[in-house]
Symmetry: C2
């Protein structure tokens, strides 16, 4: 863990090293992923079965790639009713928030009598990647599938690796709850390739979303353009801005809730009060003694954690904007006042009773958020990921006469004579 | 040019070949681009000067990379007042349409007393790539810069190659009109690298937009994630749906207006009337005799052009949706009725007096649009490319008590104990 203070003369250098990319260099996977994608394009389902045998130790025929309705039902039935209720509450709140995102179309006739429009329509088909192993979170299934549903996407296909053939009841229950029943036991770059290019068993989709390991991320990067993709997620991060009127233990737990995700995660506390900073640092070490995932969390905290003492809250806001964090907790008396100075953050959690974990599950807004400072230009997953815009222009002869001549001038200046003609012939008509 | 008819038994196969990707395989540029980007990261402005000497035959010192205010003014002054007026009309209309896109924030308190929000904010800095040579269009400068301005982006940097040191007065006039005065005479992958990673002379930006050649496209693909990028543009295309009550010559000109862009462009006519189809085909050949860019246009028409005769307009709409064209002209009596069945298109032009060229310049909506069937999942450039969302949750103790317990259950089920604790400790508080 790094201790920084804006009063320190070395602050700038130390802070710059905090901003450095925590992701690994993924160049080593570029060629292997290219080969897998080429193979899936060429050999289709046979390639999928080969890779599944090799990576997941699971022998399948092409017909067995899809998880049957009966398997989904019986696995989902193993989930306790308490958990099902929790999933349902989460789903209801996520759905409600994302419904509020549905944007308005544009349709107006301007003073030249030209009717201009912009219409939003849903994608036809979306592919949802769900990782296997330790990062297979049912909450992520809800967060990825429900915005697509709300957007009006008709077909949602899901790929999830099942190492050694073991199904994850919670993941299947979450998918079932969202009405997703087209699920394939395929993972890795091969799953991305199948959804992008299509195989005999898996019809191609228009956009692929969902987190994954380095192979999945590189595969998404390579199929980008042929299909749409969501942003490529880096390690998770939280910035907590807290005054001394917080319980140091609660702040420590919030920092560790981020750190327990993975060793590359980053938790940063910003506070004006150096004794409080000290208390939180001690509380983190104390909690690490009993936290079940302490091995992961302590690596994250040791290597990437930081406590920054600032002179005032303006400095704090400035630092937050430079960090552009995925998650920002504001544990102050007037959190909204502070938030007004934040230009770059994926999601903000306001108030002492609003920890980030609330947003991971049941808050309503999406928990798929821009990482690694990309909140400077990117946004969390939303209904906007599953709709697209078509603009329109409609005019009669009068409208054309009003604005067409300027178009003719510009087309001629650009040396595009057929463009100019298509306007001028109609103007003379 | 291909003649297709939906009544033909080979229609499906023939149509499938129309859908095939017209883009070149860009793998050959992957390594050269990677080397250029690495070089720009390492050597900064010195690398930029080296590549500019090599590719643009122009020797510069780092201080000369930026085009001076005096150069911009004097070049812009060479543009005729007629053209300046045309640019101004275009700018005014583009600005007005994009202002209508500015979305609403979300802010509501739900029935549990939890305040949920989503706020749109502008990007800090955007880089605009403008190609040199034949594709240096002033209209594209307006279409890229104005949405960023309307969105509230404070810094817009522009890179444009100037082969042999020759400046393009129209491009500089368009930039000047948009208030863009930070312009560098740098092109290619090296320009993308400079804007993404920053050099001593060129501060880094958050998102890079604008068209370019294969090197520029691959460079954008490689810096994606570190900065945002717009979609990677393929060759341009138009689909014209026309009945027999159109002048075949006008339809032919509209098809050629697309074909004259470049050899890979694609123009497709869809009509129910085979004699009309014949007449348009002949008119295209006739116009090619006199069209200045006939060499480019005839290659495009010969290799990628098509006329499809359909039985009825329902079939026409179905084919349009499969093509997901960048531009769709509807030259029918009731264009709006037909447009209601279109799910996938970048931009629609409705009515016999509304050719696509109107939208290239002065219509108002953006002319940077999704190509190569990507309208299935992508949209034209807009204000949305220059803003991003921050969601927020604010709750007090009561709100947490209402929904927190479900979060605890889910966190425990996912094996994330610090997540569970951050909620449960506050619930007990």
């Amino acid at each position: 863990m790094k201790r920084l203070s804006t009063s320190d003369s070395h602050f700038k250098t130390q802070f710059a090293s905090l901003l450095a990319n925590r992701g690994n260099d993924e160049r080593r996977v570029v060629e292997p992923v290219r080969n897998i994608l080429d193979d899936v394009r060429t050999r289709g389902d046979v390639a999928l079965c080969d890779y599944t045998a090799r990576f997941d130790r699971l022998t399948l025929t092409p017909e067995q790639l899809r998880i049957s309705a009966e398997e989904i039902r019986s696995e989902a039935a193993r989930v306790s009713s308490e958990l099902m209720d929790a999933l349902k509450l989460a789903a209801k709140r996520i759905e409600a928030f994302h419904k509020a995102q549905i944007p308005q179309d544009i349709d107006f006739t301007d003073d030249q009598g030209i009717r201009l429009g912009m219409r939003w329509t849903a994608l036809d088909a979306v592919g949802l990647y769900v990782p296997g192993g330790k990062a297979a979170y049912p909450s992520s299934v809800l967060m990825n599938a429900l915005p697509a549903k709300v957007a009006g996407v008709k077909r949602i296909a899901m790929c999830v690796p099942t190492p050694d053939g073991v199904l994850n009841p919670l993941v299947l229950a979450a998918a079932h709850l969202c009405g997703v029943d087209e699920i394939y036991r395929v993972g890795g770059a091969q799953a991305v390739g199948a959804m992008a290019y299509g195989t005999h068993q898996i019809a191609p989709v228009d956009r692929i979303v969902g987190p994954g390991n380095a192979f999945v991320a590189e595969a998404k990067r390579q199929v980008f353009g042929h299909v749409g993709i969501d942003s490529i997620a880096g390690p998770s991060e939280v910035v907590v801005v807290a005054d001394e009127n917080n319980d140091p233990r609660l702040v420590a737990i919030d920092l560790l809730a981020q750190a327990e995700h993975d060793e590359q995660a980053q938790s940063i506390l910003i506070t004006t009060h150096s004794a409080f900073a000290e208390a939180v640092g001690n509380a983190v070490l104390n909690e690490l003694k009993t936290l079940p995932r302490s091995k992961i969390a302590s690596q994250s905290w040791e290597n990437h954690g930081a406590i920054i003492v600032v002179k005032n809250l303006d400095e704090a806001a400035d630092i937050v904007n430079q960090l552009a964090p995925e998650h920002l907790e504001i544990l102050l008396d007037e959190p909204r006042l502070f938030s007004e100075n934040i230009r770059h953050a994926g999601a903000i959690f306001m108030g002492r009773y609003c920890p980030e974990a609330l947003g991971d599950y049941v808050g309503g807004p999406n928990h798929v958020l821009p990482t690694s400072r990309t909140a400077r230009f990117a946004s969390g997953l939303s209904v906007f990921d599953f709709i697209k815009r078509t603009t329109s222009i409609e005019t009669n002869r009068n409208g054309l006469k009003a604005i067409g001549p300027a178009g003719v001038s510009l087309a001629k200046a650009e040396g595009l004579d057929a463009h100019a003609l298509s306007l001028s012939l109609r103007l003379d008509n």
